[in-house]
């Protein structure tokens, strides 16, 4: 093919070529890094909690009536609340607990294994009624669940039967079963592990996402908290019925409600913004660069009409002209791509060292290069076809 003349023609239009090369190079750098950012955020958002997130509803009862000043009253009301919530059609299970999935935190404490090497381990700690596992949709994998009989709401109790997550079992007991083992709390109270549940993941400010210890008990000190698991599709009808139901138990309070999907979305706000923004940037950049290539090639066709006519008059076929422009564009695109690969890694280096960027996956680079090739061909095609349509007669006109 006629590469020689194409290259010579290109060197005569250095500015035009340089503009497109730069544009393509930066496009490649931005697009690949944007895709990389999107992929990073997507991976983070793929993290499963292990719970039935889509069918969980969080309900918070905030009392204002004086009667709630009495502890015994709070506990009996909370228990009635659980019973009342269970009667709502579409409700699968209800737990009274201070645990809220995907809140980005929670409560934690330190425990020591009785008879262990004395090291303390930090773990998430929550109080819950026995329906904890059923409501979240997690399984007891060894031992037994906590039962109503394990609940002891006495604040000065020094012993408790607890269940822990498998992550915590692995961390502390290194492969041995935790069932029957004991924890010593900082206040020297003793917890006996009766069961282990799995899975559990709740993002925390500290790296203790998979560690969890659950005490049997009633959560009713500053208002009562519930997680309600509904049958698939029943979220709307259940959430509409909750307030009325609980008011019928006691109307001296207000309620706050949120679905766990909402809580989860909020937790991933940043990732969702990054994904939306970078998707928009990719789409726009491809359009802008595409229009740019169309524009510049069109002008270069107009500029060279006479030469094209001359070539046609000298025997070049239409397809030869078309090939010429496509080939020219392909050469330009490839120079842009080569520079772009360097730029992409340069930009990625900056993002990794100065922001929370992750190393660029070379597969995105290949996808980006393919995209630019296709874009180059599509964007050149229209002006190139116009060039091919130039009549040889033009050569006979003018100078």
């Amino acid at each position: 093919m006629e590469i020689g003349p194409i290259v010579r023609a290109l060197t005569r239009n250095r500015t035009r070529v340089l503009l497109i090369v730069l544009q393509i190079a930066i496009t490649l750098a931005v697009v690949t890094n944007a895709v990389n950012m999107i992929a990073t955020e997507r991976t983070k958002m793929k993290q499963a909690s292990g719970f039935d997130d889509d069918n969980l509803l969080w309900v918070f009862s905030r009392p204002f009536a004086d009667s709630f000043g009495d502890r015994a009253f709070r506990i009996t009301t909370t228990r009635s609340d659980v019973r009342a919530l269970r009667t709502i059609p579409g409700v699968k299970s209800v737990v009274n607990t201070n645990f809220i999935p995907w809140q980005g935190g929670g409560s934690s404490g330190e425990v020591k294994a009785a008879g262990g090497d004395g090291s303390s381990y930090r773990t998430q700690e929550y109080t819950a009624s026995p329906a904890f596992t059923d409501t979240l949709g997690v399984k007891i994998v060894s031992g037994r669940n906590i039962g109503e009989g394990d609940i002891n709401d006495e604040p000065n109790a020094t012993t408790a039967n607890v269940i822990i997550s498998r992550g915590l079992e692995r961390l502390i007991f290194k492969g041995q079963s935790a069932v029957g083992k004991q924890f010593i709390e900082p206040d020297n109270s003793v917890d006996t592990i009766v069961g282990v549940f799995d899975p559990f993941y709740n993002p925390y400010g500290w790296p203790i996402h998979e560690y969890c210890l659950v005490y049997p008990g009633t959560v009713a000190r500053n208002g009562a908290l519930f997680l309600v698991r509904v049958n698939p599709g029943a979220m709307k009808s259940v959430s509409q019925a909750v307030e009325k139901k609980l008011l019928s138990v006691n109307d001296g309070r207000n309620f706050e409600m949120r679905t766990i999907s909402e809580v989860r979305d909020k937790y991933f706000t940043e990732g969702r913004i990054v994904i939306m923004a970078m998707t928009a940037v990719i789409i726009l950049i491809v359009i802008v660069t595409g229009l740019g290539i169309v524009g510049v090639t069109s002008f270069s066709v107009t500029e060279r009409k006479k030469q094209i006519g001359t070539r046609r008059a000298l025997g070049a076929t239409k397809s030869a002209i078309l090939r010429y422009f496509l080939m020219e564009n392909w050469l330009i695109t490839n120079s842009g791509v080569l520079l772009g690969i360097l730029l992409a890694y340069g930009l990625n280096y900056l993002l990794v060292t100065h922001t929370s960027g992750v190393k660029l996956d070379w597969r995105y680079l290949i996808a980006g290069v393919t995209l630019l090739w296709v874009q180059g061909i599509v964007a050149t095609l229209v002006p190139a076809m116009r060039a091919a349509a130039v009549s040889p007669v033009i050569a006979t006109r003018g100078v």
Binding site: L19, V30, S120, G223, V274, V281, L284, I285, V296, S300
Partner: protein, 439 residues
Amino acid sequence: MFAYNLRIAIKSLRRHPLLTGVIIAGIALGICASTTFTTVRHMFARDPLPGRSSRIFYVRMDNWDPATPYPDDGGGTNPHHVPPQVAYRDAMELMRSNIPVRQSVMFAANVIVFPEKRAARPYSDRGRMVFSDFFTMFGVPFHYGGPWDRRADAKAEQVAVIDDATNQKLFGGTNSVGKRLRLGTRDFTIVGVLAPWRPFIRMYDVTQNFVQQPEPIYLPFNTAISMEIRPGGNSDGWKPVGPTYRDFLASDVDCLQFWVELRSPTDRASYQTFVDNYVRQEKTKGRFPRPLNNQVTSLLDLLKEIGIVRPAMTAMAVMSILFLIICSLNLTGLLLGKFLSRAPELSVRRALGATRGDIFLQHLIECELVGVAGGVIGMLLSLGVLRFIAKFITATTVISLDPEMILAALFLSLVAGGIAGLYPAWRACKLQPAVQLKV
């Protein structure tokens, strides 16, 4: 001459409406993207208390477990990591110092509001328990009345400050200073009503959800303690604590934010010494078992330390500026083609006496025209996008373009138009009229 050039430029732009549209849209998109993301970053990065922030300091003391340092999000390996808040008993001792010109320890907690109107249901709302200095230290604007005085702090009086929205809700927006407000089991007297106030960063408590709206209700700290209100935010402890409120007050549970205003670096140094001496003295009583590590951190340093500017925001700002560069390159290419295709017309003008300078200026004006048009459209677009993003981040529409950012965007569009247009305009004025006129 300028008016003439402008007229020619407009004429030229109108001759190719499609091309002009593409060019302006390109610039508009570039400006929109870059303005939006640099603004989002700017909202977090800017000084939340201009002029005052260098005098405001956050106090922390390491009262953590001798066995392990206070854990951080990297796995608790940093031995200098200090608990983010202070305990009640220490805060009370530090409050005795007269080195700070102003100081306030504080915490957030829910309070139950009983509206006067019989029909309205009581409701629970977010409250902040502060000392009177809080309002001045953090530049809180008042609509009616003002902060309570220091005597009210000392005597734990039942006075309250409410925000504008609460005043609208409970008192229809009228001056409610002096009126009664029942909170929980007690009656409070309203002494101040805030003007609408929405700092983007809730800088006085960054321990959790720092983009949240400021609290609607403010009560004297000592009054809240006398009502046995427990802090509702994060609380960190490593030792067992008894169940009663008295146990809590005597404990090492870190759950309060402590701020001081210090006039000068000298005061800052002497305050650091004061805190260190206090901790040394407590050490003799067996408290503060870890190595001495007390931090008096300026507001801006604290914001930097907790990483208020998320790395993703910086990354997005960089990407959006690269996008603007692409748009500019695109503009250069399109203008170059456009100007050069106008060669015959330009040659006639040159032959009739127009100088190179005239041609250059005319084309540059045309470029700036599309630059500014694109800039203005881009900014308007950006306003819309920012509204959307603000809803996402804070559930309110508090991100907007401040004058600084509007000027920056306009400047950017002028620069983009100028730089992009410089080369094409230069090429246009370098055309040889003789070559073209031969035809």
